[in-house]
Symmetry: C2
């Protein structure tokens, strides 16, 4: 186990009706805020009305910025920064899924600097302060509601890049599983794949003696495998949604990473796919992960065997561990298929061949590697993308 420091300061407010607490929570930080959201779904569902009623009740005034798209865009972030500066807003309330929250985090860092927020995403400098933010989560997937991360897409060049900073942990996150009832099935499936991916990125590590967090990660993966199909077959199943939503937060709040070094190559590769083709992040991960696994399998066969046996209930065969490992990967692919996701690039509707371009962008023209479990150069990324064809 590696030495580590851990403290997740996000206050989780979980359960039925909890969005009504938004106003009181916000009021502890500011009386004038940016209310940030996506398309019209929160208005259609009545969530917008409930949240704004709660803000009014707490005497909180707001400026609105809707229109966040999946793979949230830098241009809208710039708009949000401008609004925060112009109206001297002291807090950002993100109502939506990971895209809205990631956009809010970018605005929060950008509102307090004179320079260009994109510089942080390019690794030029690190943030030293940020506006406080809070969230009302509507989609269990990205885990951004209790994480340090934000991923933004710059339309100029379709670059998708991330920033991680303790400054952008949300101060509070409101998690009401009922808010997920109306999600389209495809989006639910993408969320499940995203959460699985967060767990697998952490699980596949070269750090030895991580038995406890291995088991916690396995427990969370098993929960997803059990509960994902339940919410897909009955979207009104509060109990299954509650398990899934809480698992999605824990999967990415850094607890399950304590003492470990995660991989994250699959995320980096997927960012190139969704950066170019604008596909849903989770759908892209369901394609990248099986290919990545087949490529890195022999690097640590034992770890794949443990995962297959404990997570996918593959029966141990001590005489043929590789078959056990491959069976786990196959079961994962079947699981993705069963929830309506494809596991090949063609399933994402990608028919042209820009694999070389993606491998290039992912590794900065072969000037850097991605991943930690196995460090992947341009050729390795290319081969993984070919395995996904």
């Amino acid at each position: 186990m590696e030495n580590f420091e851990f403290c997740n300061p996000t206050k989780i407010i979980f359960g039925r009706g909890t969005e009504e607490k938004a106003g009181a929570e916000v009021a502890a930080y500011s009386q004038k805020i940016l209310l940030h959201f996506g398309g019209g779904s929160i208005k259609a569902s009545g969530l917008y009305d409930r949240v704004t009623a709660s803000l009014k009740k707490a005497g909180v005034d707001w400026v609105e910025l809707g229109g966040v798209q999946p793979n949230p865009r830098l241009s809208l972030v710039y708009e949000g920064i401008k609004l925060c500066k112009e109206h001297q807003l002291g807090f950002i309330l993100a109502v939506g899924g990971g895209s809205v929250i990631d956009s809010a985090k970018a605005i929060a860092m950008g509102a307090v600097i004179d320079g260009d927020i994109w510089d942080f995403y390019l690794g030029k400098g690190v943030p030293t302060e940020a506006l406080p933010i809070g969230t009302v989560l509507t989609i269990p997937a990205a885990g951004s509601e209790a994480s340090t991360g934000t991923v933004i897409t710059n339309e100029a060049g379709w670059l998708k890049r991330a920033v991680n900073s303790d400054l952008i942990y949300p101060r509070f996150s409101i998690l009401n599983p009922e808010l997920a009832f109306s999600l389209p099935k495809f989006q639910v499936a993408c969320g499940v794949a995203d959460i699985m991916a967060h767990l697998m990125e952490r699980y596949f590590t070269n750090v030895s003696h991580v038995a406890f967090t291995d088991r916690l990660l396995e427990a969370t993966m098993k929960t997803l495998i059990d509960q994902g199909p339940l919410v897909l077959s009955n979207p009104q199943d509060y109990d299954a949604w509650a398990e899934l939503m809480w698992a999605g937060t824990i999967a990415h709040n850094n607890l399950l990473n304590t003492g470990r070094i995660g991989d994250w190559a699959s995320h980096d590769i997927e960012h190139e796919i969704s950066g170019i083709y604008d596909v849903a992040h989770g759908a892209g991960l369901a394609v990248v992960f099986p290919a990545w696994m087949k490529y890195v399998l022999k690097h640590d066969l034992n770890r794949f065997v443990q995962w297959s046996v404990r997570v996918w209930n593959v029966e141990m065969d001590v005489f043929n561990p590789e078959a056990v490992a491959r069976s786990g990967i196959q079961k994962m692919e079947s699981f993705f298929h069963s929830i309506g996701l494809g596991t090949k690039l063609a399933d994402l509707g990608i028919k042209d061949n820009r694999i070389d371009e993606m491998a290039d962008k992912c590794t900065g023209g072969d000037t850097r590697t991605v991943g930690n479990f196995v460090k992947l150069d341009r050729e390795a990324v290319r081969e993984i993308l070919l395995l996904a064809e």
Copy 2:
């Protein structure tokens, strides 16, 4: 799943050599502190020297109060409160195990009030402020290093009582597994039993649809069952200690209680045993739990069956679930025996019969019940103690 709020603000600093960070962490809060510890072991091991060197380096001055005993005493708490007031100390650094930390928490609440700190333990009033505290943990057991709880024994009547308050979450806790290398084996075993008990108190609940936290609790119990014997057979096994120490903190930091209602009857009953006989808390729990389980088994047989199958690897027998449940309990007893703990009152050296007295004290002369999974009156507590004979 119940609605819940969760935020654990304790900063965990984990790994080799981390005690050297104590001074810098403390200095963020105060330049003049109470240094609180137990017997001579931290001086013999050199830990005292390393911590005080770190305080000096950070320019932090301290007043010392050693002498905390297992089942920490109210009289020493009073001394600590007096020192804090007299020297206007702004922070308490607890160096030790759960007893030292619990004592520090009591002093932290008592130092800022004019009244008697014991009143809070009797349920007369709740704390509204407290001095900040930090810990350097030497014993994985109580989980007090990241919990809201403190348990103190009042020598006048040998009453052992608890307070829970968000105000007494330590601001930071330093967890260096190396510090546990020199613990006596009996104390290690008691720590393992205490951690198991924290998990089982949470596991046995009447709240339905707690699948995710069930799995997290099972994962943590399995970690203890794997790692406990390793540290007992090789006290220098850093890796096993690291798993055990981190599991001990997570077992009691309230994460695994999210959405659940725990039981806690076994803790209440054990407090009467250790209150009267001054036995080690963990040793007492290893005696109470098997008896409690046999008494409440039929209240929710399915829950016991799940626990037996998943935690203790008992093979499922759908035609005889009660045998499966009883087999789990038996395996737990065998586990306690294997680490050197008894599971009967006589194993604690208790030979007189004060069962009626304990049942009386536990239930306030039959004016209240204890536990949530099954609410136990005086007669039920008595029967459980008889089962432990």
